[in-house]
Every structure is written in C-alpha cells, then in structure tokens.
Symmetry: C2
Subunit: 161 residues, 2 copies
C-alpha cells in the first residue's frame, strides 16, 4: 500500500536557481499540472479519480507523480475518514499558489485552441477580474470544492449557466 516507486524525473537536480526553472522542476513535467487541474477544476481527490483523467495517465506514472508532488510539498496525503483503502490528496498552501499559473495556461489554451472545451463565459469572467477569481477559487478549493464540480463549485456560486 505504500508508494515506493520513486520514479526518475530528469532535471530534478537543480540545474539553476532561475525561478522559472525552479517551477518547472517542481511541476513542469507532462502530468503534474494535469493532476493539479483535476483537483482545482474537478474536485478530484483520490488515486482512482486521477487515474480516470481524460488524458489517460498510466498507473505507474500517476503513482510516481503523486509521490513527487507530495515530496515537493505541493500535495498533502491523508487517509480517508471512513474508507481505509482510500487516500485523499489535497493541495497545500504551496499547491494552492499554483492556481494562478493554471488560470493563465487555461486562458492561453482557450484563446488559441479553436476546438477548446473551455466555456467562453468562464474564461471571460476570469479575465475580467483575475484577482478576485483567484481568491474565490483558492478559498473554494481549500474548503474541498472545485471550479466546475460539486455542490460548492465556483461556477454554481457565480450562477454561470
């Protein structure tokens, strides 16, 4: 039940102290930001939920990324209250601070992918008041909610159709 697969993660040996490089070394691989996205946008919290991501991450890679993100202090792992098989992964403060990066990347992708899945009214709202939305999303996620999913979602609070 313990994750002992350390995984490799090249370029984790601090090639420089450029802050952008530091960020990339922490969550700049292929999957880390997608895992964080699943938490922030869709309220996912367990291994099984992450495994079902749209992009199809492999189980071994997912395990290695969760270990990596936990080690880097982005994620915190706790046992599930009632179901002792489950582990709950939550964003730490450090992890919550990645949200602004996600929002910028979502804005860029929504602008340039002609077939984007992003709801344009959502993108517009975020662009209109980035700071306020960042705060609202942060609080929501901190309380176990997410942007799109669940009863306490950000979009339901804002009554976005």
């Amino acid at each position: 039940m313990q994750a002992c697969y350390a995984g490799a993660m090249k370029r984790s040996d601090n090639k420089s102290h450029c802050p952008i490089n530091f960020s990339l070394e922490t969550f700049g691989d292929t999957w880390s930001l997608l895992i964080i996205r699943d938490i922030v946008y869709f309220g996912k919290k367990t291994y099984g939920e992450f495994l079902e991501s749209e992009e199809g991450i492999s189980s071994n890679i997912l395990a290695s990324r969760l270990v990596h993100l936990e080690r880097k202090g982005i994620l915190v792992k706790e046992p599930h209250e009632s179901d002792k098989r489950k582990e709950i992964y939550l964003l730490s403060e450090k992890g919550l601070d990645v949200i602004p990066i996600l929002l910028e990347m979502a804005g860029w992708g929504a602008k340039y992918d002609p077939e984007t899945d992003a709801p344009q009214n959502w993108i517009a709202i975020v662009n209109a008041d980035r700071e306020r939305m960042t705060g609202l999303i942060r609080e929501t996620v901190q309380n176990g909610g997410s942007i799109f999913t669940g009863p306490n979602s950000v979009v339901s609070k804002l009554a976005i159709t």
Copy 2:
C-alpha cells in the same frame, strides 16, 4: 542548414481539448518555456545563444524544440540581416501571449526557492501591478528588447537597481 530533425514530443496527439492540456502540448515540455524565458528575460535570439543557456540544453533537443515552437506558431524564424549564417528567432503574437504564464511561474519559483536568483524588487514590482508590467514587457520584447538585458531592457526603463 535546414532542421529536418522533427523530434518526437509525446502527447502531441491532442489527448483532449482541455485548454490547460492544449497549452501543455504546445509548450509544456522540459525546455520550451526555458527557451521562451531566454528570449523574454535575456533577449536571446539565435541558436547559439539558446545553446548557452544556464541549464545546458543539448544541441539536438534545442533544434527539435525550435522546430516544434515554430510549427506551433510560437516562434518566427528569420534570416539575420548581415550575417547569413545566423537565424533569428522571434516571438509571434501567440508567443508573446505566453509572457503572463512566465511571470506567474517566476513569481511562484521566487516565492518558494529559498536560493532563488530572482531579484526580489523585480518580483515585487511585477506583483504590484501585473497588468501594466505585462504590457510593458510585451512591448519591450516586441521591439527586440528584454526584461534584464540590453539597452532597452525593462529594468533599465524602470531604473531598478
């Protein structure tokens, strides 16, 4: 003299139309954002300059990433005016729109790397007025300047010590 090494780039086959995934497929590999950083922060423009990056990219990988970024419309390649051996790589509009993402990542890295190279007054200025600084950086880079390097650098315009 022509780059025919296409490179591979896994996950370039549009696994989803999530805007974050789209961004990651475009510039979410290990090196692309560091190349864009070199342009935006240090005014680099040629293959040789990118090759000298602090993090030490391999020549074949650099070539493949430049091709990739050009194909995705992030970079534009033009011949050097006077020296016909050189190629100049510039950011397109689409590439300039990546700047806000870089700023967020720089902010995060500067906050969490205790040994960061980032000048704290620079980070503070960006955090104080993100929108204005984004515009100023964008214009500067569009005119061939950069944040830290060169006579028309953003920091020299702002007279940051």
